[in-house]
Subunit: 177 residues, 2 copies
Amino acid sequence: MALYGSNAEYALHCLLFLVPLPEGEALTARDLAECQGISPSLVAKLFTGLQKAGIVAAQEGARGGFSLAKPAEEISMLDVVDAVEGRKRLFDCKEIRAKCLLFGGCAPEWATRGLCDINAAMIAAERAMRSELAKRTLADLAGKVAAKMPADFAAESARWLERRAATRGRPHAMGGA
Amino acid sequence: MALYGSNAEYALHCLLFLVPLPEGEALTARDLAECQGISPSLVAKLFTGLQKAGIVAAQEGARGGFSLAKPAEEISMLDVVDAVEGRKRLFDCKEIRAKCLLFGGCAPEWATRGLCDINAAMIAAERAMRSELAKRTLADLAGKVAAKMPADFAAESARWLERRAATRGRPHAMGGA
DNA sequence: AATAACTCGGACTTATTGAGTCGGAGTTAG
DNA sequence: CTAACTCCGACTCAATAAGTCCGAGTTATT
């Protein structure tokens, strides 16, 4: 019912949590999943695509996780949706103009010459859409979100993630509460 | 896999056959269907949507058929795809930002204030796409197609349809072949 | 005026795509 | 060396899209 579905939404929201992450730090799929109330497996699946596209880098093993592979300014929304949903076309032309029975089953050369005009228009619309999506980067989005939130929330969020990490990697965790 | 599928393609191609039709004339769903090698029922279904949108007018009964309800210059590709495929959104925001467990199940007011920034960007892209589709009218498309075809094809096409009509309405048809 | 044939109209069935989940391989800390 | 945690590819299920079928209405004919 829509070109871009839940995959794109989850991926973008997850990535926004990765943007303010300090260098060298990483978030696990589990953290990102619990943070959004979805399954860790789903996050892992989405980020597989993101990794193949060179958007995120995966650190395996214990205390591993995901982090951005490029500066947030160089990651556009278009890159993200293409990575997680595949490069979806706005319209797939089946070239039905060639099947017109008016030609008696044998389409003349002029009928199939060049691009179908309908398809051409659709491609133009698709190009406009993609161009609009290519403008916005993860950094832009993160900035807009950060502008909305109270000043102390960023710190609180970081503390939340820190506490979450404390219960994981260190077997001898010292309860910070 | 694509936002607009076969419905849009069939509908547009069928409508292109209606554009050069003389005033008062109509083509039946059967003619349009056989002309493109598809089922008449499918054409009827598509044109039901087109009729509700006020794009075509249906003449019922014997010797009935479909004809354009407006000049081809006033029918945009956007009107057509909206009519046959429904007004599809580029992206359906599920407002997952409100479900962030970081809020403890209760999202603060600032998190849900205004439009989700991701959704906003998607809406902008959708608007660009629709705007591009709204530019092209059926008349434009028909003109481009007509420019490709040989000069005598238009007459031949009309004759083909005429012969097709002859075998239909009149029970006492005189075989032209 | 009655008949008969043809037309459009909406509802159903099937196939394909997307969403979500599960278990396995690999890697790193201890 | 052990152990635990991580990511990764393949599978299952549900929803949507495509296509088809039968019924109601209208018109030209006799």
